[in-house]
Amino acid sequence: MGEGASVVPQPPPLTPALSQRERGNRLGLMLTVLFDGVAYGMVLFILACGLAVTLGLMNLVNLAHGAFAMAGGYAAVVLVNRWGLPFLLALPLAFLASAVLGAVLERTLYVHIYARSHFEQVLFSIGLVFIAVAITDYFAGSQQVFVNVPDFLRARFEVAGVSVGAYRLLIIVICAVVALAIHLVLAHTRFGSRLRAAVDDPRVARGLGINVNLIFAVTFAVGSGLAGLGGALGAEILGLDPSFPLKFMIYFLIVVTVGGTASISGAFLASLLLGIADVAGKYYVPEVGAFVIYCVMVAVLIWRPQGLFGRVRLR
């Protein structure tokens, strides 16, 4: 793990054919970068939206969120590569695996640290990360692994001069559907309003007969499951190895802090911005690449500690 948190994932590969054939077509290239950036940002959103709720709303500093994503990614690897399940079937199963893991850990461990100080939550979740890294290393080895993506997802086609990868298109579609579903659940269902009530004031919510513990547990499990789904979907473009939770910890935290905690759409916009900025930065100015996002993050935190899209909470 000597590489630490600052190791930055490789930029998603762009079509080599494109840069040769259409060297002059800058607009097409730009749109392709934009497209890849959107796909990347969408994955980041699915990965981080659970954290946006647990950290942003439930005020639980869970640095181990990436571990659930890694669990989902490795679940997909085992299901597809070893058991030969179809990739599209493995995705919901990866969601389930991480959700179950999240539910179990929430009931056994996390439930004890909701009320602790941030300092203790940091220590606890770093401990979980280290354990996850060591266990994954033990069972799967330290090398990078890949999910066998079916051939029809490896295809690329062109839409109006923009090279579109089928896999990235699938990512965007799935993530958009999930994001919309999350928004609808949070904003328009009874569960969503109960969750918001439980977050705003747990005591009063309990007084109204809302089972706050259950709501938190379900939310945590779903958030972990979504991270697992993101890990399975994103394994192809983010890279999957035991140090995944550490590598991407800062990305998740950026999404949550830049997006602010007021709404899920803030996290969504922040993910898209981060994804596009990261892909474009690494493609156009590879020599500065990684600095851009860190500097942007620090600048945003200084400029608006509540996040770009946040509003000041009254608590």
Binding site: R116, H118, F119, V122, L123, F124, A134, V298
Partner: protein, 311 residues
């Protein structure tokens, strides 16, 4: 700790140096870690600033001393001074970022600053050696007389003496009105400002001093091992030092020192048993400490401990 207890502690430390000459390298490592933890204690335990990137200053100090030694300025004390100055300067600048915001913001900013420095050290390979590490350091003899030997006798004595002097300095600091004002800020910044404590100035000062001390610790590591790698800036170093401090006790002068002894001995022992799964033990220990509560574990040993930083 009572006064006689402090005497006993340092006598034991000196005795360890003289009675265990074969473990000199380990003693030097422990002293370096202890100084690093002490610097974090000033920032976290006394000033209450939650930092997830304290290795930034440790690494800066290591690189400052290492690059100086590589370019012909091999005098160790000069290296220490340089490391302290560089780390403190960066600490002073970044302390302005730390002043704003909540725990979470501080966590992110400190993590971000450390990540930026890691990337910088990685990219500026003409200066730092990049991923290969900084080699060909030429560290001169301490005070012009004591050359660093292979067995680490000089390194151990050097690190222990620097640690002792730094410890005396911090002890003086936290027992002064300055130290008490830090604790007041940690307890409640608003009330501290109401009784006339200049909160921001005090936090800047504490963060700067903490950064400078961490820089000295980094320089000690660079000089005693004659090598600096990117590892000095890595995230796990910031996490490890948090654990060291938590083992010993946050907000307690001897916390970092005791923690460093326990941590390094444990590392030494476990890395002989299961070298590759060190992280697993660290993780289990962190979780156990949080769930069981360090107070309950160590209450047996020191009944009059200072409480951990309140939120």
């Amino acid at each position: 700790m009572r006064r006689w207890g402090e005497w006993v502690f340092w006598v034991v430390v000196a005795a360890a140096y003289f009675l265990l000459p074969s473990r000199s390298m380990l003693i030097a490592e422990i002293a370096t870690t202890a100084l690093f933890a002490l610097s974090l204690d000033l920032v976290l335990g006394y000033a209450g600033i939650l930092s997830l990137g304290h290795a930034a200053f440790f690494g800066l100090g290591a690189y400052a001393a290492g690059i100086a030694a590589k370019n012909g300025y091999g005098d160790p004390l000069l290296g220490l001074a340089l490391a302290a100055a560089v780390a403190a300067a960066v600490g002073a600048v970044t302390s302005l970022l730390v002043l704003r915001g909540s725990d979470l913001t501080r966590l992110m900013v400190t993590l971000g600053v450390a990540s930026i420095l890691y990337e910088l050290a990685n990219r500026l390979s003409w200066l730092t050696g990049g991923a290969d590490g900084l080699q060909d350091m030429d560290v001169g003899p301490v005070l012009g007389r004591f050359d660093f030997d292979l067995g680490g006798r000089v390194a151990a004595a050097y690190c222990l003496i620097v640690l002792f002097l730094a410890f005396l300095f911090v002890r003086l600091l936290v027992r002064s009105p300055f130290g008490w004002s830090l604790r007041a800020i940690r307890g409640n910044a608003l009330r501290a400002s109401a009784i006339g404590v200049p909160v921001n100035r005090r936090l800047i000062a504490a963060y700067t001093v903490g950064a400078g001390l961490a820089g000295i610790a980094g320089a000690l590591l660079a000089q005693s091992t004659q090598f600096v790698s990117l590892d000095v800036l890595a995230f796990h170093r910031s996490a490890d030092i948090l654990l060291v401090l938590v083992i010993g006790g946050v907000g307690w002068l001897y916390g970092g020192l005791v923690g460093a002894v326990v941590f390094k001995l444990m590392q030494d022992l476990l890395s002989q048993l299961t070298p590759q799964y060190w992280e697993l033990w660290i993780g289990l220990l962190l979780i156990a400490i949080v769930l069981v509560g360090r107070e309950r574990i160590t209450a047996l040993f020191r009944p009059h401990a200072a409480p951990a930083p309140a939120e």
